[in-house]
Amino acid sequence: MLKKIIFQFLALSLIFTYSAKSAESGGMPQLNPEFWISQIFWLVLTFGLLFIILSKFILPKISNNLETRKSQILENIETADKQREETEKKVKEFDKIINDTKVEAKNFFNSERQKVLDDINNKRLSLEKDIEKEIIKAEEEIDQLKKTSQEKVTKIAIETSSDLVKQLIGEDINKSSLSAIVEDLSKKEMEKHNGI
């Protein structure tokens, strides 16, 4: 610090001696006090006006601009974040909807298939029942037919045999004895036929 001061004093004294030496050729116009007051006056005027206009009108606007830009950027980042969150939510919803639909479609398909299968089963069951009934009926009919056919055969056999006997002998035989013989024979035949 001391060195600086000494240097400054030296510089100043040099300037003064230089100005004194070259006084006749004009020297340093800076040390001519003719226009000092004028320079001070105009300096105060221009610098004062500059300071007042800058501080009152221009600098507040610039600082305001900087502030609004900063807040705008922050705001924009905030809205961008919000929108991103919303998008994520929407994407999740969308996924959920797709999953739900898939599950629903599967369920629907399954239930429909079950229905169709049930329907088919029911129809088959009822058909089987019908068929069984038909079979039972047919069997009954067959049974009846069997019974009636035996009786008829016996009757026919008795009638034929009585006719044969009549034609052969020429007279009627006791019908009851004939029928007993025929029945006996047919029984034997039946037993043979039935494989007993």
Binding site: M1, L2, K4, I5, Q8, A11, L12, I15, S22, S25, G26, G27, M28, P29, Q30, L31, N32, E34, F35, W36, I37, S38, Q39, I40, F41, W42, L43, V44, T46, F47, L49, L50, F51, I53, L54, S55, F57, I58, L59, K61, I62, S63, N65, L66, T68, R69, Q72
Partner: protein, 243 residues
């Protein structure tokens, strides 16, 4: 007369002589360049106040200068110096523009006159001293008594501190004035060499002149910066008493 390297610093009247109470306040070439510099600052920075989110070039320039000086003040003088931002901004811009307009050939450099720089420095010195006494009262005098100094050395240190404090306006004003004057004189001298050595030997000083122009543009910015940053440092002493 024009060959005299000091001739460029001459102040002369432009227009009529204006006198108030026998005091000459005529409009001179110095006044003209003060007005031009101030107007240039006002026009550029007024163009830079458009309210657009994406700034154009002038707005970017204005906003970058704003944040540059704002950062400089908060770095050197802390947040307490915020109310003085407009003043330091105006000071820096005024000195910078005066220096830069001085770089135009045949123009006049306002800051190459000791009276101009001294008035600015004296204003800063008085202002800073007043701020110091308002903020700290008589406690501001502690600035001259550094802590941790042996009692024996104290009288000497206090005297040195007082001298260094009082020499602040002189150092501040002479630094700017001498830099500007020396640079412009040197350029003029080399320019004179170019003319006197002619087409044969004039190339070397011409090259020097070109290099000096670049250097002087750097100095013009640097001195404005130094002027502003020293103001910030003095303000810092007044606002935050460290001793």
């Amino acid at each position: 007369m024009a060959a005299n390297p000091m001739y460029q610093f001459n102040v002369y009247r432009i227009g009529p002589e204006i006198k108030i109470n026998n005091i000459d306040i005529s409009f001179t070439n110095a006044s003209l360049f003060m007005v031009i510099s101030s107007l240039a600052i006002l026009i550029i920075f007024n163009l830079g106040t458009k309210r657009s989110i994406i700034p154009n070039k002038i707005q970017l320039l204005a906003e970058l200068s704003y944040s540059f000086i704002s950062k400089m003040i908060s770095d050197t003088a802390g947040s307490k110096a915020k109310p003085y931002f407009s003043f330091i901004f105006s000071l820096f811009m005024f000195v910078l523009f005066c220096n830069m307009f001085g770089m135009i050939p045949y123009s006049f450099t306002v800051t190459s006159h000791i009276i101009v720089t001294f008035v600015l420095a004296a204003f800063i010195f008085i202002g800073v001293t007043i701020i110091g006494f308002i903020k700290h009262g008589l406690g501001y005098l502690k600035l001259f008594v550094p802590s941790g100094v042996p009692m024996v050395l104290l009288p000497l240190i206090v005297v040195i501190e007082i001298i260094s404090y009082l020499s602040r306006p002189i150092s501040l004003s002479v630094r700017l004035f001498a830099n500007m004057m020396a640079g412009h004189t040197m350029m003029k001298v080399f320019g004179g060499f170019v003319v006197s050595l002619g087409i044969v030997g004039g190339w070397l000083p011409l090259g020097f002149s070109v290099a000096l122009t670049g250097l002087e543009i750097l100095v013009a910015f640097l001195q404005a910066y130094v002027f502003a940053i020293l103001t910030c440092i003095y303000l810092n002493d007044a606002l935050n008493l460290h001793h």
